[in-house]
């Protein structure tokens, strides 16, 4: 099954890259947009750190890792599920979802893979990766491979959590037909994942931990890479990832049931 998924994924990727390469100007524009979009938080934090040394315990190199990690995660998402799940509402509205249901392949992955895009967020992904490397090499601590390993593992966990949140938000489309604008909301939430979790307090902290857990998505892996791993936050991230994944899968199944009974 796994090789089959990889094969199908490869086919979609090749197909979509061909499609994207047809529009050269688009490619160029997207890169420029990405570059400017990621410059904004970097300039923002650079200005702040000219006046303070740390924010919520994060130094400037650690913040760069954090900013870069969000961008990197985003590119990973565009390469696998981001646009596809976002288009779920459209699939349902136009009735094309029926066709997908009949295919001998997991429907959720089919929906996700359909719109995978290499270039949509490529500029951000590349600059993000460079920021991570730059931040990591400018940390004022002794770094080890262990940090890198923890980072990669936790980033993968975060990726699953990110997937679960996006899936959960988009399955709303089974009940409410027009749900596209929720994608813009998710975008904003990810932008907010660039702030240190430590600045949050009170109701905001609870909301962005348990309702929309974006305060953990990028901060937990980044803290690990910066040598500041916090076991309680790692545990929280793992717990929420499992919880959100189960919840999203459950809602997805309910959604499919609802869809079947609506069309009969």
């Amino acid at each position: 099954m796994f090789t089959r998924i990889l094969k199908i994924y490869g086919l979609f990727l090749a197909q979509n890259i061909k499609k994207e390469m047809m529009y050269r100007t688009s490619f160029f524009i997207l890169i420029v947009i990405d570059f400017i979009a990621i410059s904004v938080p970097v300039i923002f934090f650079q200005v702040l750190f000219s006046d303070v040394d740390t924010i919520g315990g994060w130094g400037f190199p650690a913040i760069l890792i954090l900013v870069g990690s969000v961008s990197f995660l985003r590119e990973m998402a565009y390469l696998t599920f981001r646009e596809g799940l976002g288009a779920l509402g459209e699939q349902i509205r136009t009735g094309r979802f029926d066709v997908l249901l009949t295919k001998p392949f997991p429907t959720q992955l089919l929906v996700a893979f359909r719109e995978i895009s290499l270039v949509e967020s490529l500029g951000e992904g590349v600059v993000g990766f460079l920021l991570i490397v730059y931040g990591f090499t400018h940390l004022e601590i002794d770094v080890s491979l262990l940090h890198v390993a923890a980072y990669v593992l936790l980033l993968f966990v975060s990726f699953i959590l990110y997937y679960s949140i996006v899936l959960l938000i988009n399955t709303v489309a089974f009940w409410i037909v027009r749900a596209e604008s929720l994608g813009a909301l998710m975008w904003t939430f990810m932008e907010m994942a660039r702030y240190p979790r430590e600045i949050l307090r009170g109701i905001g902290k609870i909301f962005f931990t348990f309702v929309i857990p974006i305060s953990l998505v990028a901060t937990v892996p980044s803290a690990a890479l910066a040598g500041n791993i916090k076991p309680d936050q790692v545990a929280l991230l793992l717990f929420l990832t499992v919880a959100f994944f189960i919840l999203a899968t459950f809602v997805w199944k309910k959604g499919i049931q609802h869809y079947n009974s609506a069309s009969s």
Binding site: S26, I33, V47, D51, V52, I55, S181, M192, G204
Partner: protein, 263 residues
């Protein structure tokens, strides 16, 4: 009667989609502002200070940015791009109307509701919530100037949006272009940071754009950080006139291009 009903229904649908994008914009700004406020609380709590802003000033700055930005921002480029891309734009050739004025009418009609929503709903609520930190205006006169300049800024913002929408005549990725301009606009309008704190090259760059007049300049006047009111008025009127004629000219060029494609 039937045709008017149909017209009513379409206008209503248009208004609803428009409202949805405004609501979206609104929720997004609330989230962004909330995180920024958390950030300032955290920084000033640990004894930090950003530039020459004390805590009250920075808080007032961002709350005012939030309110003014909500009043000034418009989304007509979104509609214009959709109309041009999907061909609905052709309808306007048949109608005895001027497209610029048509869009301006729609814009200001919806603005009234939005402005009430922002000022009554949130502006006052947040100012009330943070009342112990919010600074009063530098003077009554300054408050008056801020209001007038903000009203002028709605016009500037409209013309800018109209121009951005015109991009759809030439580039297929007009929506991406719109996103790009939005990021730049927000940045140079001082939404993200007070412009005076930016690195010098960026401050200089901002002075060659109309964006600071959208919300940065009015907020600075409220705070009493800009006292040269005359230049503020000259600046914004200059940009309005310049961009108005540019928009008219670009529109004529766009029409030519549009008709050429059709033939």
């Amino acid at each position: 009667m039937k045709k008017y009903l149909a017209l009513f229904r379409t206008s209503w649908q248009v208004a609803l989609t428009y409202r949805a994008s405004f609501l979206m914009f609104f929720v997004v700004s609330v989230i962004q502002t909330v995180f920024l406020l958390y950030l300032w609380f955290a920084i000033y709590d640990q004894g930090g200070k950003i530039g020459d802003y004390n805590f009250q000033e920075i808080l007032t700055y961002y709350l005012l940015q939030f309110v003014l930005n909500g009043i000034v921002s418009t989304f007509i480029s979104w509609d214009i791009i959709t109309e041009i891309k999907e061909g609905g734009f052709s309808n306007y050739f048949l109608k005895p109307i001027d497209y610029f004025r048509w869009q301006a009418t729609i814009n200001y009609a919806s603005k009234i509701v939005e402005i009430l929503f922002i000022i009554v709903g949130v502006g006052i609520a947040s100012f009330f919530l943070f009342r112990e930190f919010v600074l009063p205006p530098a003077s009554g006169l300054m408050l008056f100037h801020m209001v007038i300049l903000t009203l002028l800024a709605t016009l500037l913002s409209f013309i800018l949006e109209f121009l951005i929408g015109m991009a759809a005549f030439w580039i297929t990725e007009a929506f991406s272009f719109k996103f790009l301009t939005m990021t730049i606009t927000r940045f140079f309008a001082g939404n993200i940071l007070p412009l005076s704190l930016l690195p010098v090259p960026l401050i200089v760059a901002s002075q060659f754009t109309p964006f600071p007049y959208l919300s940065y300049v009015p907020v600075q006047i409220y705070l009493g950080r800009i006292t040269d009111i005359g230049s503020a008025y000259i600046g914004i009127v200059f940009w309005i006139i310049l961009l108005y004629f540019t928009a008219r000219w670009v529109y004529r060029m766009g029409i030519k291009k549009y008709e050429a494609v059709g033939s």
